[in-house]
Symmetry: C2
Subunit: 306 residues, 2 copies
Amino acid sequence: MDKLKIFAPATVANVSCAFDILGFALDTVGDEMTFTKTTEKLVQITLPENSNLPTDPLKNVAGVVAIEMLKKANADFGVLIEIDKRIKPGSGIGSSAASSAGAAYGVNRLLGDIYDNAELVQFAMLGEALASGVAHADNVAPAIFGGFALVRSYSPLEVIKLNSPNELFCTVIHPQIEVKTEKSRKILKKNILLKDAVEQWGNIAGLISGLYSEDYDLIGRSLQDKIVEPVRSLFIPLFYDVKKSFMDAGALGGGISGSGPSVFALSRGEKQAEKVAEAMRKVYSQTNIDFDIHVSAINSVGIKEI
Amino acid sequence: MDKLKIFAPATVANVSCAFDILGFALDTVGDEMTFTKTTEKLVQITLPENSNLPTDPLKNVAGVVAIEMLKKANADFGVLIEIDKRIKPGSGIGSSAASSAGAAYGVNRLLGDIYDNAELVQFAMLGEALASGVAHADNVAPAIFGGFALVRSYSPLEVIKLNSPNELFCTVIHPQIEVKTEKSRKILKKNILLKDAVEQWGNIAGLISGLYSEDYDLIGRSLQDKIVEPVRSLFIPLFYDVKKSFMDAGALGGGISGSGPSVFALSRGEKQAEKVAEAMRKVYSQTNIDFDIHVSAINSVGIKEI
């Protein structure tokens, strides 16, 4: 294979109670990336003209992933990566992860599929480390595996693809303010109360159980986060108004997407998710904050060739 | 119904990483209890002659549960509860829970099954509060529901019966030393590191996922506890030797049962669980500590009429 084009999905990480261990992939929003083999043993990046992202491959998340993969595989070719960046950087729906995971997937195809999904996650984490200083996997794992992906352990890295009930839809609103992942990580307390942790892991266990048993109400009841949300929500204007709006509109539950500022809600059925979008839209319409809204099924396959 | 006899199972709570939220029921060890309606509106308790437990119904866990249930139901009869106590008190395999849950089940039958399982758990928790000062549900819930029972939330109380893979067997060793639940609760730190909590909830999510997907190795890899086990194991002589012995013998994983001193291991298949029992036995045989060993399938139905 000398050339391919892919869709690399946006992802929602953390998923309320499941901070740092869980994420899921979206279907209607993602980057498009084209990979072309070159005879020159170089990685080259192109981006849309209006993009502020670096095209220097050593400074671009897709670039660092591709360089490492080609080096490890001792490849005798280079790659041109054309990124049609559709996920806004800093939105909290896995913008850097989509490019990182997309690069891992695309380069692996050009290499003849020599790496498995777990290895692709590890390569993609290099991009995450460049973007945020932390090589987290809870966005790149669902981007690559699709569906709900659990990062059970980092050493060794273990990703588990969970069951994903097919009536589950996600609504995400992205208020266009800047929240740096690094900053929203620093604000977290290093210590937490054991009793809060116990409450949190009851909800995590409930969420995983609800995903497998396809108990939508249990999924909703389990989407509670006493540890991270109360702190990170400080960075998100009108967070609790948005939350109230989606719960009143009939969402199962929701929370901060990644480290914000996007806010997500899960609903049963697409119509319900649209209703939730309407309710969220109303909240920000009363402000001067620009925003995007996405409604999407859970993307069960991850990255797709298009 | 005027009389019934039941088997009330021993239970393993905490289950390593899932401190305070999860427990499962055993099949081969439990109390036998006989309930007889009496015209006198009293609760009476009888116990084997060699038992040190109180027969005063206000001081006996089964007694307080029965009194409250009869009172709430405005019953026009009393109950004689004959307890054939087979689980050693203080063993860490839900001795007080078996009697409490058994009382809730038995009295409910005499009342004409007016309460559901979730309500029975709440009545049984009164017995747990008397026994240990804390109304925890992670032993009484699996005793009543059977299988693996998750206590997702305490307010309101929500118990979820999880899938239980049928090749899963448990080996429990009870070194006959005294560990008071209260004391082993006090030793726990009130604060924990967020990063340890995140590691723990990755394992909890892995354990629940493994139970549903019947992935025995995943269940085993997830049985890791960095928070409670390192502290409570101090009370259990040779804990790490026992742990090494069962892992070397091929167990999937294990840990402290409840607040100890019993230690449990999960295995795939009964033969493997017997092999694990042999390995555990060897460790304590070299000491002057008396011990019991039980090998059991997971009891999927909970309390049974016999």
